[in-house]
Subunit: 201 residues, 2 copies
């Protein structure tokens, strides 16, 4: 007899732990056995929940983005800061989270893009979609900053958002190489204070 509640709980638990495991060990480095052992799900029942490891990874990417965006929105809703300060605080919070984990995990999207962006069409499509969700939100903030003359207007908000994403994600790779977030943090500051900010005068 089907037990939908329990199934749904296991499914969520697989995704939740999958986020941690894939962030830490990568796609190919995370065996299904490790996932199932962690969630204490009997071997063989994985395919009751997901068609394939690839579908599982795609759902993990979606869930990871949803969590980050919810964190982002919660902050934005309660903040009266100017756009650049908002962006700085959101990203500074993420740097602190990376540091709390020893700077070795990084961003799941960046990790998955590097490892399987070129080989999994399904995950690539989901990454494109989640990147668009993030981008719409950050473009709104950048446009607001442009209106307030805080952010430079000689470049479009959409292309500023793209460079921002690239610099941030590359900074995370650098953090993993360095084993600390100093360069990532300095890059964020340079981006916000020198490159994006409307020059005074």
């Amino acid at each position: 007899m089907p037990r939908p509640r329990r199934s749904e709980h296991t499914r969520e638990s697989l995704i939740e732990h999958g986020i941690e495991l894939l962030s830490e060990h990568g796609y190919h480095g995370t065996g299904l056995k490790l996932i199932l052992d962690t969630v204490k799900v009997p071997k063989g029942s994985f395919y009751n929940y997901f068609d394939s490891k690839e579908q599982f990874a795609a759902e993990i990417i979606e869930a990871y983005t949803a969590t980050l965006m919810a964190q982002f929105e919660r902050y934005l809703e309660t903040s009266n800061d100017d756009p650049l300060t908002m962006i700085r605080k959101v990203y500074e919070t993420m740097i602190k989270q990376f540091e709390a984990q020893g700077c070795h995990k990084g961003c799941l999207i960046g990790n998955m893009a590097a490892e399987i962006g070129g080989s999994s069409e399904r995950c690539r499509t989901v990454m494109q979609e989640t990147l668009e969700i993030w981008k719409r939100r950050i473009v709104e903030l950048l446009e607001l900053g442009q209106k307030k003359k805080q952010i430079r207007s000689d470049l479009g908000a959409s292309e500023l958002a793209d460079v921002f994403w690239n610099t941030w994600e590359g900074g995370i790779l650098r953090m993993k190489i360095d084993g600390n977030a100093a360069s990532l943090r300095r890059s964020l500051d340079i981006l916000l204070d020198y490159f994006l900010r409307e020059p005074a005068g």
Copy 2:
């Protein structure tokens, strides 16, 4: 009886093909069997050449960087261009190479940083060293550009080099998500023409 020439050739061939395979499939996604089959080396003889897969990957990272730096140096030696144009041409050449491969391979260093930067201390150390080799060269160019008043001097060449690396590597991740190099190319242009260039007047 040892046959050093043949051994050396096989060793080089393993590294050469290893660069291609690891760039395409990642560290965990590239099984030793695939590598040995590609180079037609009998199973079991891998450990005559390398202590471990990790050491193999570390040597691959070194060899990859040496190849890129040689390409970089060859161009710089014969060029009379100004520093920003030199940087643009070197990186535009790399974008064309990515495009020729269908934009799904990316940068081996970025891929390895994302996948095993947090787990392999040996590879992380080699990545730090190779990044320093690249950085010394690009800092020279950036300092030359600062002297010529082509590149902004309100930020140090070393930190500009760091942001450059981050934006470039993140741009490659974006290329893998997009399946094309448009955003990577635009990021490079924005970095060189807007962010690094000394403002006119």
